[in-house]
Amino acid sequence: MSEHADPATITVYPDGPLLVRGCFELRSADGRVIQTDRSVVALCRCGRSRLKPLCDGSHKLARFSDSASAEEVSHVLEFARPGTRRNDLDRDDINSD
């Protein structure tokens, strides 16, 4: 990796995985480096991949649905803002169970 390489970015794709680009190193739970000889990798977001943490396309068979739309992530964007109180994050679907 070049010292001038771009910093890593992680992008959420609708109903699909997370795409990691830039300068990154992917590690297993025990700290070993997962070799990925490419500039972009897709990380599983649906939990169904047989190759976790990598995506293998299983989200489509599982009909994984998360549109990652601006409205849906607004609470997350809020979360990232300093000073957000925990109870601002309360959601109906959590509280209703």
Binding site: L19, R38, S39, V40, A42, L51, L54, C55, D56, G57
Partner: protein, 368 residues
């Protein structure tokens, strides 16, 4: 080895003297040997190609006169198209490079393309009928095409049922494309710019192994073929593959060579990538079930992981990005994706039907 000054000892030959590079040309593809014709048009074309282009005018003998409904799967037409496109890739053995832009041949090819396009439109709908308003609806259309599950599943057949001979047949069909994997879609690179180009090049860089020869998908496929005891030279099996196999390649070449079809080319690539990960994981399981080795399975394993990322980039950043930049191409993008799905479906039908009847899916070679 050290040579002492003043000795008269003759140095032994040095294969790679300091400063000189050694080149591995063993993977440089050779032009494709002209196959036997499959009908009047390909016979006329093959006959012409063996002569000097300067002295020839081509006329009605290159006119294809079949029924439109049969064009996509017509042996004669698809071979003529495939040979005319191959002049732009690795070339044809014993055929003058000047044929590549021979006006008579280009005129004939444009007519064949019009026929193929009309035939495809009959099967999948016209680009105009597929005009979508906006990026989101184009991506939704791509997703719904990719999610269709109405034809026979070739990948499940290979995973569960195919015998070794059928698996070998599958690789023979696919060698027509995979030994030049990604090349037809690379025609799109000079036609794109900005973030759309960046998305395309991200995909293509993986296809070409990020510049490492052994990691190029075409070379991974070559290793896979070798592990199955197949001839790995480029175009070796041309005469054995039927029209439907040539159709898959011809559609991408047609969209690739003609800038006018850049939207369809991008839609085609998006559909390729969006329908790749799961089938490749099934091919890998079939390969291992039949005793295939892990090193050779890398071709499939690589596609599972790479295409899981590519499908997102291709649908959202490439196809979505192109439609955002050129909204008028929306219908072409969906058309290209539909054609990719159609060709894949026809290919699956051919192989699974033949295998169900205990027949080979390859051509029985002999006259026409």
């Amino acid at each position: 080895m050290t040579l002492q000054a003043g000795s008269h000892q003759t140095p032994s030959p040095v294969a790679n003297p300091a400063g000189a590079r050694s080149y591995d040309v063993s993977l440089h593809d050779q032009p494709v040997v002209l196959p036997p014709p499959r009908g009047q048009v390909s016979a006329a074309l093959i006959g012409a190609l063996q002569r000097s282009p300067g002295e020839l005018t081509l006329g009605p003998e290159l006119h294809w006169t079949g029924e439109l409904e049969t064009a996509a799967l017509d042996e004669d037409l698809q071979l003529a198209l495939w040979l005319s496109y191959e002049l732009h890739y690795r070339g044809l053995a014993g055929v003058s490079d000047e044929w590549e832009w021979h006006p008579g041949l280009i005129r004939a090819r444009l007519a064949w393309e019009d026929t193929l396009l009309a035939s495809l439109a009959l099967a999948v709908g016209t680009p105009d009928s597929m005009s979508e308003s906006g990026v989101e609806s184009v991506i939704a259309r791509l997703n719904s095409i990719a999610a269709r599950d109405d034809g026979p599943s070739l990948s499940r057949a290979l995973m569960r049922d195919a015998d070794a001979e059928q698996f070998r047949e599958f690789l023979i069909h696919r060698s027509i494309y995979h030994l030049k994997e990604a090349d037809p879609h690379s025609w799109a690179i000079p036609r794109m710019s900005g973030s759309v180009k960046a998305a395309l090049v991200t995909i293509q860089a993986d296809e070409y192994g990020s510049g490492r020869t052994g990691a190029m998908h075409a070379q991974l496929f070559r290793g896979l073929m070798r592990s199955w005891g197949l001839d790995t030279s480029y175009g070796h099996y041309l005469d054995l593959v039927p029209a439907v196999t040539l159709l898959s390649s011809n559609i991408i070449s047609m969209f690739g060579i003609n800038r006018r079809w850049r939207g369809a080319l991008v839609g085609h690539l998006a559909m390729f990538e969006m329908t790749s990960s799961t089938p490749n994981s099934r091919y890998a399981r079939g390969h291992r079930r039949l005793g295939g080795d892990d090193a050779a399975a890398r071709f499939f394993d690589e596609h599972v992981v790479a295409d899981a990322a590519h499908e997102q980039i291709a649908a959202h950043d490439l196809a979505g990005g192109l439609v955002a930049a050129e909204p008028a191409l929306a219908g072409d993008v969906v058309f290209g994706a539909s054609c990719a799905y159609f060709a894949d479906e026809q290919f699956a039908i051919r192989l699974t039907e033949r295998w169900s009847a205990s027949q080979s899916s390859l051509r029985s070679v002999g006259g026409w």
